[in-house]
Symmetry: C2
Subunit: 309 residues, 2 copies
């Protein structure tokens, strides 16, 4: 539980998408920084950030945007983190803390550490939260409320810097856990990356069928398919980078998934009703655990209402 969030003087958010703009909104709402600087290379995004009043300063020049910052959070796709770190590193002030929000941590640590100047701590982070929407308009200040944020500080990282980043995330309402980048990448491969992969995949499979029209897929999607389309509507660039940078863990977990799926297909082919019933009973219990832990709604059907209601 947060006692009092250690505020940072100047916060620079690099990349004002769903996550970055939610951090900016939350930092302002919960008083976690005195000044908020928004850095984005996209002119359209900068315009929206100005119109929405998300930051005190808005710039496309990352080097200048981060120069006086006490906390810099990189909120760009993981494939871009290395290049951005290289560009801003010489401009970070001594005592500054650098962080990020990438869904993959091993590759981010490897990409950032070589550029890190003396006197700057790098505390990689990953808030396990999001929606299927992208961009500065999609963010909201409570996105991280009661969601986990995982920190993966490399060995030897200044403990005080880790504590300050922890305090920042707790100030945003998150629950903070610390683990190694390697373990993070394994855990997220099964809880996030492979689920996204199979969601993208089945939506693609359904779209490509010849015997079943796309119109039929859409009409009868309430039978289960539509649940998958939400995460299959997530940001394409972000997810491309996730799979390319967490390749080994994703392929390993996908291998496990495939083995289990083969066994399940075999149970269907040989009409082993007992094996099917046993698995389906076991999986029901997992959801109860997620609901009990406050990570999911208990309302039927996610509590959703069709769009015309």
């Amino acid at each position: 539980m947060p006692e009092s969030a250690a505020p940072f003087g100047r916060l620079a958010v690099v990349g004002l998408g769903l996550i970055g703009s939610s951090i900016a909104r939350g930092a302002r709402r919960y008083g976690l920084a005195e000044t908020i600087v928004a850095v984005d290379r996209d002119a359209g995004v900068r315009d929206r950030v100005r119109e929405l009043g998300l930051a005190d300063l808005v710039t496309d020049a990352a080097e200048m945007g981060v120069a006086e910052a006490d906390l810099v959070i990189l909120c760009v796709p993981v494939g871009a983190v290395g290049a951005v770190a290289a560009a801003i590193a010489p401009h970070l002030k001594p005592g500054a803390v650098l962080s990020d929000v990438g869904s993959v941590k091993g590759s981010v640590v490897a990409a950032v550490l070589p550029h890190l100047p003396d006197g700057v701590a790098f505390v990689p982070g990953h808030p396990v939260a999001g929606t299927e929407y992208s961009g500065p308009d999609a963010g909201f200040s409570t996105l991280f409320s009661n969601r986990w944020c995982i920190l993966t500080p490399p060995e030897g990282t200044d403990a005080e810097a880790v504590a300050r980043v922890r305090g920042f995330w707790e100030g945003l309402g998150a629950i903070v856990e610390t683990m190694t980048p390697e373990h993070h990448d394994l855990v997220l491969a099964i809880t996030s990356h492979v689920p996204h992969l199979i969601a993208f995949n089945i939506v693609g499979t359904a779209a490509d069928l010849e015997e079943v029209t796309q119109s039929e897929v859409i009409k009868f999607s309430a039978g289960g398919f539509r649940d998958f389309t939400r995460i299959a509507a997530s940001d394409p660039t972000m997810w491309r980078d996730v799979f390319l940078t967490n390749k080994d863990a994703v392929l390993e977990m996908l291998g496990r998934f495939n083995e289990d799926l083969s066994a399940l297909a075999r149970a269907i082919r040989w009409e082993d009703g007992e094996a099917l019933h046993a698995l389906f009973t076991r999986t029901r219990a997992i959801r109860r655990g997620i609901v009990a832990m406050g990570q999911e709604t208990a309302a039927p059907d996610f509590g959703r209402r069709p769009s015309e209601d």
Copy 2:
């Protein structure tokens, strides 16, 4: 659009689970039957049906329950439809209409037709609607509102009987479409059965990992995994029967899914970022189609709120 629902005098619902109890509630609310008879072999279910006041008559004797009915709807797992049809068939009155709500239609038609007495029409149906909850308490009268209901009348079925069943479902708020049982089973294999199968599967895979604890899977489920747990929490008996009775179509569609997944794994292994990005962009569009057709909410994250909100 419904003009005026053709009401039936006496409606018998056999099996008062999520679907059956929703039909009973809807039939009463929208005035689609004068008398509602609830038939269930489970004493606990019958007690709840009485307490909830869902029917005018409640009985465990299917033969008696259906004797005077003008419309009989079987709402039991598809694996049980044949046995129930055999038991009630001799007791159906001439002119009665028999229907069902099974998620598989080919096997249901094959199981019911041999028992069908002269003068009774069989109009198989499948409302594509549901939640992850089961039992008479889980039902609600608007479950079918703006959802498709597919009718698969065998060749030669009395057209008036089909029209009356159509009117009944339209009275419940559903949109009715007619197709062959074979096409239904193919369409639903990809829009419902395979999605359930891979959801059950990944939840099982995650639960069995040794390197990642079940507690970690639950904590970090907001990264995508939890979306799958909803349909993996669906009724085990119903789903066992679906896979056993729609085996061929499920294995065929699963084969397509697997081919596509292999190609996707290969794109990851060979770091083909363009192929990944192209697929992820394409899948985004499908969800927009589902939202536009009113089959899904446009609210971020299904509009859900965590359980403690």
